[in-house]
Amino acid sequence: MRPLDRTTSEPPAVRSLVLTALPVALAVAAYGLSYGVLAVAAGLSPAVATLSSILVLAGGSQFAFVGVLALGGNPFAGALSGLLLNVRYVAFGLAIARALPGGPWWRRSLDSYLIVDESVALALGQSGPRPRDPAKVDAWSVEVVRRFRVVGWAVVTGWILATALGAYGGQLIADPEVFGLDAAFPAGFLALLAPWLRTPRGRLAAGIGVVLALGLTPVAPPGVPIIAAALGGLIAVWAPVRSVDAGDGAVDAEVEAGADVTGSAAAAADAAAAAEAGADAAATDSAGGGR
């Protein structure tokens, strides 16, 4: 259906990858900044706060951890609630794993480190479902893995640097809520969710997820409502939704929707300038991705 077919066999351009990754990294950085401030306010030293972002690399659980500390709770209770929040990464890890090449242990270890909500959601959401045609699977995997790694490293860098900035310079920043930073995260997740909302089964999975999460929140421990929301996917797989089974047309529509996110005219001028600066790093990564 598409007028020009030339883009289908080529990997996403470096520029488009940077334009995908950069705004995500900046949004994560805003969140990391407030984490750094709050972690120090909760009693961690700036060095330990920064170290926590390097080692844990899962924002929600880190907020939960320092939240318990700030209330004077047992640190292990904080760790436990953080771990509950992070059980979802088992599901995210399995979701991205079917595109990953596997390989030696060190490569699997690095890929595991890069599993964050944003890297998995952008890689899978923008590339569409795994094609049923075996001949197309390789090209699909290459694109997914490249996007996953570029966004992953961008998020890692933004998260860690912003934490350090917030932790060491925290006194300079007022209450993060004044800037609406607490709403930046659900807004970002909504944008990540968008490609799924354009398919019937994706909408079903998302709808069930919302109902389960909000229904369980008042009665279940933190983290459990989110994990339960994964059931939305389980139900949606077997639900009798007809139009998804129409075939690759839906896949194409989804890929094009994804391309629209990066190709949007809204790409700001300053982002373009920064993109030039970041292009070298991304190019190195693309070369490493291999074809």
Binding site: A95, A97, G125, G180, L190, P222, A266
Partner: protein, 103 residues
């Protein structure tokens, strides 16, 4: 010292959960139903994250300035705005509503 130890528990536990997929399922052919499930699970998880971060405060549901900001962000998503614009709209509208004195 207890704090550092608890932090290490959180870090190691989180990493092991992340590593489960890449160390067991990467580079393998999955049955089609499992493949389809793996594609749909992120939708449920992301939707739950959006919902809880918008209307949950502690363990209770609450309506405050965030719901206005996220609703504005939803409009931006529907208009296919760039990711960065969506985030700016969400944070900016929330901050604006708070500046007006609600939530």
């Amino acid at each position: 010292m207890t704090t550092i130890l608890a932090l290490v528990v959180l870090a190691v536990g989180t990493y092991l959960m992340k590593a489960l997929g890449p160390f067991t399922a990467a580079g393998r052919e999955l049955p089609p139903w499992l493949d389809r499930l793996a594609n749909l699970v992120p939708a449920g998880l992301l939707a739950a994250l959006v919902a809880t971060q918008t209307v949950v405060d502690g363990a209770s549901l609450t309506l405050d300035a965030r719901i206005v900001g996220v609703a504005a962000a939803a409009v931006a998503v529907a208009l296919r705005a760039h990711f960065g614009i969506v985030v700016l709209v969400g944070a900016g509208v929330t901050a604006g509503v708070r500046a007006l004195g609600w939530g």
